[in-house]
């Protein structure tokens, strides 16, 4: 048994778009997720973080590279051989409105994974198990025969979480689970996710564009830009001393709820993001980087150990 629950090796995924071009959604990403940790994945829209999450879950197949689950490659496996592992890896969706079948009652929604994996026998036992799960996510038994549209966003997200934990998975990808929710409800869901993690020994990949949410939940964080990892390391180290220029811009841009900081001149990222169909050569951030040197346009920087983190920048030490 390997110490890593999940490993990605040189994962690459291209999608064809019109006119014979390809979007490089994820290019050459390698990372490890340890048993029991939460890895936060941040980046802006279109940086490939959702695609990476789905690659790890084998919901889509990589163009090249492989994914290892407990040391065993799941990329080349047949559908049949992989099936038992499907249970181990679950997904919590961003949009709690679209991810629940509107025609199914809460009982049927949560019973679906239980019946599918024959975790209980008999209608009564299944219902009993559904009630337990409802309680585990903080919903009352009375909700059993209600339908998704009758719930608020936060309650729906709880149903989605109950479905994910129904099969006792080891690993859950949370794909922006709170970005569609109100502030007051968002914290309830984050508390729930944190409590479930410790009570059930879960490992999370937590994808979000909201840096404070990621900071709260994650042990380590991984910053992506244009399909590549630019910085990965322990959460506090990355937040305190961001090494990659992009990470710095990202952290600076977050508006703080403190009006006294208003006078401060902000360093803003200039220009437009490069196109993922035609990424710039070398370091893909060099077109917008204030520290760019001629070398950055020629050579793509590899991930290097700098302090506690790994950074993909030629000049990370000097910054």
């Amino acid at each position: 048994m390997s110490e890593f629950l999940l490993q990605a090796r040189e994962l690459t995924k291209d999608f064809p778009v019109s006119g014979n071009r390809r979007v490089h959604a994820v290019s050459g990403v390698s990372l490890e997720i340890r048993d029991g940790e939460t890895l936060g994945l941040v980046g802006e829209s279109g940086c490939g973080k959702s695609t990476l999450g789905r690659l790890l879950l084998r919901l889509i197949h990589p163009t090249s590279g492989e994914v290892l689950f407990r040391g065993q490659s799941i990329t080349g496996m047949s559908e049949k051989a992989f099936h038992p592992l499907r249970r181990q890896m679950q997904l919590v969706f961003q949009d709690p409105y679209a991810s629940l079948d509107p025609r199914m009652s809460v009982r049927d929604l949560i019973a679906e994974p239980i019946i599918n994996w024959r975790l209980c026998d008999g209608r009564e036992a299944v219902t009993q198990k559904v009630v337990e799960l409802l309680e585990a996510v903080g919903l009352q038994e009375e909700f059993l025969y209600r339908y998704p549209h009758q719930f608020s966003g936060g309650q729906r997200q709880r149903i989605g979480i109950a479905r994910a934990i129904a099969v006792d998975p080891a690993f859950i990808v949370c794909d922006e689970p709170v970005s569609a929710l109100d502030v007051s409800v968002q914290n309830q869901i984050l508390n729930l996710l944190k409590a479930l993690k410790s009570s059930r020994g879960l490992t999370y990949l937590f994808i979000s564009h909201d840096l404070s949410v990621v900071r709260y939940l994650s042990d380590r964080i991984c910053v992506m830009f244009l399909g590549k990892v630019c910085e990965i390391g322990p959460t506090e180290a990355v937040y305190r001393h961001p090494r990659h220029p992009y990470t710095r811009f990202l952290l600076d841009a977050v508006p703080l709820p403190d009006p006294s900081l208003r006078g401060k001149e902000l360093r803003l990222l200039e220009g437009e993001p490069p196109s993922p169909t035609n990424p710039p050569p070398g370091c893909c951030f060099h077109t917008r980087c204030p520290h760019a040197q001629p070398r950055c346009a020629r050579e793509a920087p590899p991930l290097r150990d700098i302090g506690e983190a790994q950074v993909a920048c030629h000049f990370a030490e000097g910054l």
């Binding site: 879950l57 919901l59 099936h83 499907r86 249970r87 679950q90 997904l91 969706f93 949009d95 679209a98 991810s99 629940l100 079948d101 509107p102 025609r103 199914m104 009652s105 009982r107 679906e112 994974p113 599918n116 994996w117 009352q140 009375e142 909700f143 059993l144 025969y145 209600r146 339908y147 998704p148 549209h149 009758q150 719930f151 608020s152 309650q155 989605g160 479905r163 994910a164 129904a166 099969v167």
Partner: protein
């Protein structure tokens, strides 16, 4: 403190739901709810049942026989003896309408249902499986649609021979392709929804996803197709009869009655009017019943 804080918070989270039906519903409950909420649908249901009963009990309801000719009384207008008048052979129109209902109700409903089932199955498989299955099913459907439907029906009827079962088969084979096309595009739409991906994450098999998630969400479309298929079937049957391939005179079907009555439209309009009204009534009844059922079956429509 005079009140319990936890109770209050529960009330707060329960506000939007407090007057909701929270019980599991069985089929009887559904029908009762429809009777309560949608009168038109219930009335339609009653009309369909009455028509079916009338067709079954036809010999008891009328003193005449289906094929009794009375040549002295040809094309008689409605009267006390013949409530809906008589046709060109002096046969009682009401009697023929009742006996014709036996054939026409079956021909309206059974092939519409069969083509719906076949078409929905093919459409969902084509849409969800994609690839070869999609290519094969859709090309067969295209070929079916490329022939004029009357011609196709004639060819099939000729090779199968007469008889009501063969009429069912023919009409099903003519109509399924339309259903399959529409259901395929619905499937493609539903398939891209997040809840289908959610089911895949849980490990639900493809067959089960089609059965449990895609088909139920196609229901509204299927229902519209069903009600549209009923009159098409009834009228196609009449054309086949006209060509000597379906039900033969002196036996009656509504389509046949309209077809023969057409020649006397100016002298004896009741010949066309009676079966025409019957077809319209049955189609409307199925339509309203279908809409009512949809409302009742759709959880989003439940009254708050």
């Amino acid at each position: 403190m005079p009140w319990n804080r936890r109770k209050r918070i529960e009330r707060a989270s329960d506000l939007r739901l407090e007057s909701q039906i929270g019980e599991e519903e069985r089929f009887g409950d559904l029908m009762r709810r429809m009777a309560r909420e949608n009168r038109t649908a219930m009335a339609s249901f009653v009309i369909i049942v009455l028509m079916a009963l009338a067709a079954i009990l036809a010999p008891l309801l009328t003193p005449y026989a289906e094929t009794d000719m009375d040549l002295l009384n040809r094309l008689a207008p409605p009267s006390a003896a013949h409530l809906l008048g008589t046709d060109e052979g002096g046969r009682d129109v009401l009697t023929r309408l009742l006996f014709g209902a036996r054939v026409s109700l079956l021909i309206g409903v059974v092939p519409a249902l069969l083509s719906l089932i076949l078409g929905a199955l093919m459409g969902v498989i084509a849409g969800y499986r994609g690839g070869m299955a999609d290519a094969i099913i859709m090309r067969v459907a295209d070929i079916t649609l490329a022939f004029p439907s009357m011609l196709l029906a004639m060819v099939i009827m000729y090779s199968l021979g007469g008889g009501i079962v063969n009429v069912f088969l023919t009409l099903t084979l003519v109509n399924w392709a339309n259903v399959a096309r529409v259901v395929r595009s619905e499937t493609l739409r539903i398939r891209s929804g997040a809840f289908v991906e959610a089911a895949r994450v849980i490990g639900v098999s493809r067959d089960r996803i089609m059965r449990r998630h895609i088909l139920p969400n196609c229901l509204p479309t299927l229902l519209v197709l069903f009600t549209l298929n009923i009159p098409t079937s009834i009228l196609t049957e009449s054309s086949l009869s006209f060509l000597g391939l379906g039900i033969q005179p002196p036996n009656a079907s509504w389509g046949l009655m309209i077809n023969t009555g057409r020649q006397y439209l100016y002298n004896a309009p009741w010949l066309c009017f009676a079966p025409g009204a019957a077809i319209m009534l049955i189609v409307l009844a199925f339509n309203f019943l279908g809409n009512g059922l949809l409302d009742v079956l759709d959880p989003r429509q439940k009254k708050q």
